[in-house]
Assembly symmetry: C2
Homo-oligomer: 192 residues x 2
């Protein structure tokens, strides 16, 4: 180990994943290449490869990291609210705030990954679908926890997901800064 000390291996891996996540957010998961990351992090390509073995493993690691960021930014702030309507309102606020603040430079990582992999096959696609499915199920569960919302739980979950995607696109592609506000309004309207 020429440069870093032994215990820093995990830190190196961490830096690679972090960088891969940022690159993927703007260039797509397929745009994450060993050579690119090696250049960015000023290390050899083989050194990067060594930590993951395959590009797919690296993509999965970046995806998992992005999921953690999303959870921290959107779920955790809302978890303090009471289950049901209150929590859904909190989620709507945290979610649109997360979009407005552009936590990922290239827009919502999971939305981009979804578009990129939605018509392929393999572990990455499965992981992306699983992440969305989990989040969808959280929304449905919260709606079902509220007797008034329960009958419309599926539609509410759909509306929330749609509004977030609409806001993401309006922001990223058209630079429409009013989009998070409209999405928040739309989510509130979905709750009735």
């Amino acid at each position: 180990m020429p440069r870093s000390s032994f215990a820093d291996a995990a830190r190196t891996r961490d830096a690679i994943v972090q960088r891969a996540m940022l690159v993927a957010s703007t260039e797509g998961l397929e745009g994450v290449t060993f050579g690119r990351l090696a250049t960015d992090l000023e290390m050899s390509k083989a050194g990067v490869v060594g930590h993951f073995g395959t590009k797919e493993a690296l993509q999965l690691a970046a995806l998992e990291r992005a999921s953690e960021v999303f959870t921290k930014e959107v779920w955790e702030p809302a978890a303090a609210a009471a289950p049901g309507r209150a929590r859904l309102v909190a989620i709507a606020e945290a979610w649109t705030s997360y979009l407005r603040r552009r936590v990922f430079p290239g827009g919502c990582f999971l939305t981009a990954a979804s578009c990129e992999f939605d018509d392929r096959e393999g572990p990455v696609r499965d992981a992306v679908a699983a992440a969305w499915r989990r989040w969808h199920d959280v929304l449905v569960r919260e709606a079902r926890a509220d007797p008034e919302l329960a009958p419309r739980a599926e539609q509410i979950a759909f509306d929330f997901l749609a509004m977030a995607q609409g806001a993401n696109q309006a922001l990223q592609l058209l630079g429409d800064e009013t989009a998070p506000r409209r999405a928040l309004d739309g989510m509130r309207r979905a709750l009735g």
Copy 2:
């Protein structure tokens, strides 16, 4: 010209654009390569390149073709309806039908292109943004044509775009066949 007759040049070009559009729908616009198209169409790579010169020109041609398909599938069926609310309802029906029928094998071409290029620069990104902007403006114009909807025109356009994207993702990534129905309901609800 060894294989085709002189007047068939336009036909050859047409076939390339058609194929590029289909490939881009599932693999993304960046996944359209000269070599791939040459293999698919059983011609030489140089023969494909000759019609466009650069990959970017080919991407723009595929994008333009996809816009024509979208217009034909969503706008034209609705154009017969009276301006305002009636036409927006017709658009909602044609649009969700277009999604349900999976006109593009990889889901809505323009949605995929938007995700792929929303944080880049250059003519392709500009063309994608322009296509979305045009469609957005059509929706706003129709809403404004109806005195009852006019005050909410911008929000209605946002909701329509969001619902379509939500349905596209639910269909493509999660295989949720109920999504077009939910999107149609959501669009109708947006009209109040």
